[in-house]
Structure formats: C-alpha cells, structure tokens
C-alpha cells in the first residue's frame, strides 16, 4: 500500500537526515517503525504526509508510492484526501477549540454533513471519555485524553493509512495500554492500515505485524516481531533484556558506548 524507495530528506538545503530510507506497509497491517531519539522516524512520517514543507525540509531523492502512485510531490491537503493521515508527535490538539470542534476540524476533507455526524458517533463510541468532554476546551484535557482526541480526529478523515507518531509519549502505562488496544481495534474493525512510530519497543512489537528498526536515517533491521525479539541487539537496546555472562570486558565497553548512543 505504501512504499518508500530509497528516499533522501534534507532540511534547510544542508542537513541530510534520511539517507536512502526504504520500507513498505502492506494493506491492513500494523507496521511499527522503531528507533532511538533523532533516528529520523518523525521525518519519515512527515515525508509521507507532505508536512516537511513548513519546516523547510524536502524529499530530494527516491520516491514515495501510495496505492501505486507517487505522492512525494503532492501537498499535504492532497495527500490527506488520498487517505493518508498523520497523527503528529506531541498530540497537537487545537487547544482553544472544544473537543467536538477538534473532531470537526479533522473532518475538513469530508464535506458530507450527515456522514460527519455518524463519524462523530463512531469516534465517541471508541472514546467515551471524549463524549463526556465534548464541549470542553481541548487545551485543558489530560495528556491521555488529548492523545485520544488526536486519534479520534484522525478517524474523522476516514484515512486508509493512519500514521501515529509516538502515541505513548509521556503517558502513564495503563493509559498507554488502553490506547494501544484501541489502535488495534481501529485496525481490525475499521480496516485502517497503521504505521506506528514508537520508542516503546515492547508495546509496539506486541501489536505489530511487521517492524522496522531505524538508525541514523536508514533502516538497519526489519522483520516479524517474533524474529526481532530474538535478535540480541534488539533485546538489549530496545527491550532492556541482557543475556548475562556472554561478553568480555572490551565488548562491554563498546556496548556501553552503543547503549549511550541508543539512549541519547
């Protein structure tokens, strides 16, 4: 459904951030994109959704295909209309709008008023807490409620591919699990394909059908979650599991350095 072929992204004409990044997302799947801070995950999503322009970034090489058609030269509005919707990192709800106005803003590309009303009901069905707070100013919601609002707002646009950028960021573990359960349900019930960017590898691997690991602007590892969970590096750096007593001290130092890089 979505294919990134060898793309290169440059910010401000000089800062090369994605260096030959390739990945695929199959229809109906949940695909996880993992990587430490600064690896280029958010940049990858913005390249797909056309949101690089306001940050003075551009796809300078390679191509992005959605349903077989190139989308890397389109503007953000066209890409949303084709069915790709990015839920940005940090939730980014419209703080001075009410919950319901936020949802209606998400439906901007869906002009059918009757359908908008049905969609509101659908979203409130997934997130009953938003229904209770529908007239409340979004800026005063809790972090978890704002994340629900950001996902609900995306649903209002009827995306075929929903891209979520670190939905777990700054949320309590119980809430994170609730949100991941709902993401799973949206994928199964609404048939929405999901590209999930996360630093929380354990949770992401638990819901994903396939996963990519990114470092320094390119994919370094990919595979089914079960397969990745067996990988020693992944176990150590992402899942925090160490296989005791297998390393000599020199390697420990090297690993310490690598770990520092993962965590920085």
């Amino acid at each position: 459904m979505l294919a990134l072929n060898n793309i290169e992204v440059i910010y401000n004409d000089v800062i090369l951030v994605l260096k030959g990044m390739s990945m695929q997302v199959g229809e109906g799947q949940i695909v996880a994109l993992l990587g430490s801070n600064g690896a280029g995950k958010s940049t990858t999503l913005k390249a797909v959704s056309g949101l690089l322009k306001p940050e003075d970034g551009a796809v300078t090489d390679g191509e992005i295909l959605f349903l077989g058609q190139r989308i890397d030269r389109l503007d953000a509005a066209d890409i949303v209309r084709r069915g790709v919707f990015q839920v940005m990192e940090g939730r980014r709800v419209f703080e001075h709008l009410t919950v319901e106005e936020n949802l209606r803003a998400g439906a901007y590309t869906q002009r059918d008023a009757r359908r908008q009303t049905q969609d509101l009901e659908l979203v409130y069905g997934y997130f009953p807490r938003l229904l209770e707070r529908r007239q409340q100013t979004a800026g005063y919601l809790s972090g978890g409620e704002q994340q629900m609002l950001a996902i609900g707002r995306a649903m209002m646009a009827h995306p075929r591919l929903m891209m979520l950028d670190e939905p777990s960021l700054g949320l309590a573990p119980l809430l994170v699990e609730e949100i991941f359960r709902i993401i799973r349900r949206i994928n199964q019930e609404q048939k929405t394909t999901i590209l999930l960017v996360e630093q929380n590898a354990r949770l992401a691997l638990a819901v994903a059908d396939y996963a990519y690991i990114m470092e320094n602007g390119r994919i370094v590892l990919e595979g089914a979650p079960a397969q990745l969970q067996e990988n020693a590096d992944v176990r150590e750096f992402y899942l925090g599991l160490t296989d005791v007593g297998t390393r000599k001290s020199y390697r420990d130092v090297k690993h310490y350095k690598r770990r520092k890089r993962w965590l920085s």
Partner: protein, 290 residues
Amino acid sequence: MALFLQLTLTGLTNGMLYALIALGIVLIFKSSDVINFAQGEFLLIGAYAMFWAVGQVGLPWPVGILITLAVAVLAGVLVERLVLRPLIGEPIISVIMVTIGLSSLIRAIISLFFGTASQPFPNFIPRTPVAFGPAVVPADRLWALGLAVALLALFILFFRRTNEGIAMRAVADDQQAALSMGISIQRVFAIAWAIAAVVAAIAGVLVANIVGVSGDVSRIGLRVFPVVILGGLDSIPGAIVGGVIIGLLETYSGGYLKPGLEQVVPFVALILILMVKPYGLFGQTRIERV
C-alpha cells in the same frame, strides 16, 4: 438624561462600527500574525466603490451594494495573493511595513480616480431624525448600529458552526497541525483577508453615509487600533467589547468633559488597562496544564 441617551446611542454606533472594522484586523492577526495597517484603506475602497456605482454611474443601490461587496472580496484576495503570500516567512516587521506601504498605495490610487475633495455620498440610507424618548438620532446611525450587530452575530456563528470557520480557528491555533488535517492554509489566509476587506467596506459605506465620502473615511481605521489592542489582538469578543468601550469613552469624554478630549481619553484608558492586562481584556493566553 437626553444628553446621556444621545451620547450613549452615538457611542454605541461608533463602537459597533469600530468592532466591525476591528474584526478584520483580529482575523488577519489570528490566522497569520500580521497586523494589517491598511484596514482603514479598505473602508475607502468600500465607500468609493459604492460612490462610483450609485453616485456616478447611477445604478440602483442594491446593485451598488453587490458591486461594493465584490470589489471588497477581490481587493482582499488580491492583496493576500500578490502582496502577503510572497512575504510568507519574512520577518514580521517587514510584513507590517508592507501593509503600511499598501495603505499609501490604495490611498494614492483612489485619489487618482476620484480626487481628494470631499464629495456628497448618495445617501441610500435615510438620514431622517428618529426620536428616542428625549434624544434624537439620525436614522442612518441606527441602521449602522443594527447592521453592525447583525453582521458580528453572523460572523460569530460562522466561526463556531461552519467547517470553514472552525478551520480558520484551527489554523490560528496550530498551523502545522491544521495542515495535517488537509486544511489549506492559503485558502484560510485568503478568506481572512476577504472577510476583513468586506467588513471594512461595509463599515466604509455606513460611515460615508454618515459623514460624506472623502479620504477622511479611512481615518476611522486608525482609531480602531486602540480598540483591538484593548480587546486583545486575537479575540473577536474582545474586538466587540473594546469597540463599545472606546466608542462610549469617546462620546462621553467629548460630550461631558471637553470637546477634543475624545481624541485622547481612549489612549489613556488603553494604557491604564494594558498595565493591568498586558494582552488586552480578552487576549488569548497560552493554556498551561498543571
């Protein structure tokens, strides 16, 4: 009592006209952070479009209104397209300087076609005096008051209820997030400028009906700045409350204290209020969750 009623009605009318004009400044500031110093000249465009269509060509006034509205929309969209859009990303101060330059340009173009002398306006709104208890007010002032209130109510509904209105507020809140919903920022800017030009043009027609048509019509644009700063540059309710406060202060101080003071008192009040509320009465503060 008669004087009080008289001053209050006059003050309210001026205040509502200020509010209408201020709405345009607020809209443009909210969506694009630009302060439009050419808002007063949009009044001129409206007043002269109506003057041309009805006074010079002799068209019936409803046609004149339609032409005036069309000219205003066109002017707003053109200014956004040709002047402001190329400046996106430039320092805000340059953009502001450009709107100041634009105001001189519009003024010059108009005097080129119509001269600078004051001319009688084709008074399509009757000026017959209307008795209000002991006070007497010309009918065109009452019309101006009623129309301004109706238009402001209409715009508030527009921003709360319609997709386009909600999109405009979304852009004001977070441009990149709005972009990610598929909202076209450029379209929103264009609509903001078109609305600003339309409300100013209507105000221009109403003012010209009251005082005649000349370059002076745009002076009211300058008096609107205390209004928007008082109300909060990014607040529509602020524009209305600020307009009424300044309008009343002007007529009360001119009527009760000393003629001429109405020029000064609004600014004194402005400074006092800003000392207590630096973002104006209704200025949006950043929401900080604890």
